[in-house]
Symmetry: C2
Amino acid sequence: MPPPTAIVISIGEELLEGRIQDTNASTFAAELLLRGFHVVAMHTVGDGPGELKELLQSLQNKVDVILTTGGLGPTEDDRVRQEVAALLGVELVSVGVDGAVDFLHEVFARFQPGPAPDFFLAQALIPAGATPLSNKVGTAWGFHCTLGQRTELYVLPGPPRECAACFFYGGATEDLALRFGHQAHQLAHAVLHTTGAAESVIEKPIRAYLRPGENPRLGITASANGVCLSLLARAEPSGRSAGEILEARIADLQQQLHPFCWGRDADTLASVVVRSLASAKQTLALAESCTGGLLAGAITDVSGSSSVFTHGWVTYANRAKVDQLGVDDALLEGPHAVGAVSEEVALQMAQGARQRAGSDWGVGITGIAGPGGGTEEKPVGMVYVALVGPGGQEEVRQLRQYARGGRDFIRRKTVCDALDMLRHAMAGISQTK
Amino acid sequence: MPPPTAIVISIGEELLEGRIQDTNASTFAAELLLRGFHVVAMHTVGDGPGELKELLQSLQNKVDVILTTGGLGPTEDDRVRQEVAALLGVELVSVGVDGAVDFLHEVFARFQPGPAPDFFLAQALIPAGATPLSNKVGTAWGFHCTLGQRTELYVLPGPPRECAACFFYGGATEDLALRFGHQAHQLAHAVLHTTGAAESVIEKPIRAYLRPGENPRLGITASANGVCLSLLARAEPSGRSAGEILEARIADLQQQLHPFCWGRDADTLASVVVRSLASAKQTLALAESCTGGLLAGAITDVSGSSSVFTHGWVTYANRAKVDQLGVDDALLEGPHAVGAVSEEVALQMAQGARQRAGSDWGVGITGIAGPGGGTEEKPVGMVYVALVGPGGQEEVRQLRQYARGGRDFIRRKTVCDALDMLRHAMAGISQTK
């Protein structure tokens, strides 16, 4: 039996004008996929009268589920409830939940004295016969109703936090599970992360798994940080569960893609490094120049990183490298200077950080992020990353980041490369590139 | 005369599965808006046979412009050129540009010896009668053709860099200008940025400008960093140019929204702060704990920041605060300790950084980013930001960041608040909140 079909609709002029990047559509498309739906399209429409009604009319009875986000707020533009009521040929009525209207009066009173006006109270109205979906983090109610013979419509607010609250905790997921749940438990999903190899290198040993009809279905996505593999497994009639099928394939892929594959699902390169350091009871100190604190920012993004990371220096000026990290002045100025962007300075930065922090590992980064400051000998994108470790490890790599990627790309890619060097060093894996 | 209408279509299963966040649609919607188009909808469809053809068929003669992205690559899924050719009832033919096929052979040879196979060479095929759109940063050609009587179709590759190259430099913008250009020069667009006031506060003094039909049209968008105003001005029949109308309204808004409004268009809070420091020939040193280097990362994101920023410390451990910045040990441990998250420690961090760097300004940040580490007295989200300056300025603020926003939100909001404090201090504006 083919999976039930779904369409996600995002509503708002601000989306059509490109003022806001819609994140709801991809978030809920992924959630619907995991619940066993085939998302066949996503649409974005404005809030003009009739626009949504016309679109819903053209879709009803053609798909099993429609999920809309946006257009439920307290302003004149927010016409979604009216559009749906008009399509159903019913009136708008109160959600009929105790305290719903009082709550809106209360919220309104925080901004302005007196009772809330009708346009504000409209946030607790839904089409007659619809089921309210609660929104614990905002003021607009969502709702569910059936269009035509078979299309289940879930109407959710636009702000991503409110939309998620309404979907996950407001009644939508339960309703979907009741109506379509028999599909969902037969699926399992995971993402594997790799860094350090091009898409073509990753693809080569696993090409057979990419064929259409393979279970799990495998998708490849390349980004600046590396290549991701996305797996979706379905239970087999033989009785093998989706989870078993998924984990078997993951084990295989991890072996094929060693040493590039470093994590799965919510792992980040920084979280993997922090975990390795924590389990080895080791600490890290960072000395950054061109990345300007972004590597420390990535490490401290990991909750619990304080057990492994104690000291970071952003030695942006030459003077800072000398007075804070003990880099030899003669490397930076004078007849024998090699310049701040050099193997020697990166290494002394790493050593200086490690020594001053009394840490196990030290990293030093110096380079040219551009757009200015490049020369023929040291062009924009040239970066040195040095790593020193507790077992006498000492490694300096020259990176040539893609200059046309721009300053931000060069800095972020350098953070990623430095984390990958750390990961390899922690694992004792020698890195070839 | 109403503006010409446009629709943006994004193509790919990876979008419908939520594996990739589509950024092309909003980018090109904004570009079309600036060229005088009314974007009436955005659609995302898969790469199954017939899907795109059916959608294009339903739209042709109903809109003036359709822009598609994706589905032009060298794999089996990339069927867009076939779909369009089928709709037009024509064959696929070579782009007819000298060297186009040789180039594909050359690129293919980098990965694998021998001549390129047909599926790879297909990237230089377009429907007969279509005009090729060149792609200087990738291998797939885009193209333009007319559907039905009046719908101009621009077919572009999916990777954002390639899509942009094809649109801006491959012939699409010139073709749009030739066909619809009379509209575009009558428009002018700008974005104003504010921080420190809620949407309702920003809206109050400028409500009259938000009315439908106002010129410039004004849109408000709230995000974690503040409230943005988006303005779109149209030339008036009286002869006032769009630019004049836009700048007059901007001057007015900047006055109304002082001191919240800090920049326009590509400005960032960090770039505004760096610019102020540079024009005052002053320097800045940073001492960060809970933000872990993100503030330094934001400052050094600004090209040219090296003239104003020399030293940063990420003193994540108490020990680092003491040994690197000279924070008084007794504040952190012992009978009179106030703890690392305190007004006193933030201030000593700022002072220590300023003194050691020999800079004009010093900032110290310490707080609880969570999810762990909160207490009743010092809950997750409590942050102290201290600022010391060259004129004896000394200011410590306690921030209560929205804890449910999560660790990342708390850290990023703190960076934004610290930059705003710096901006106010540089401008000598007293901040009320």
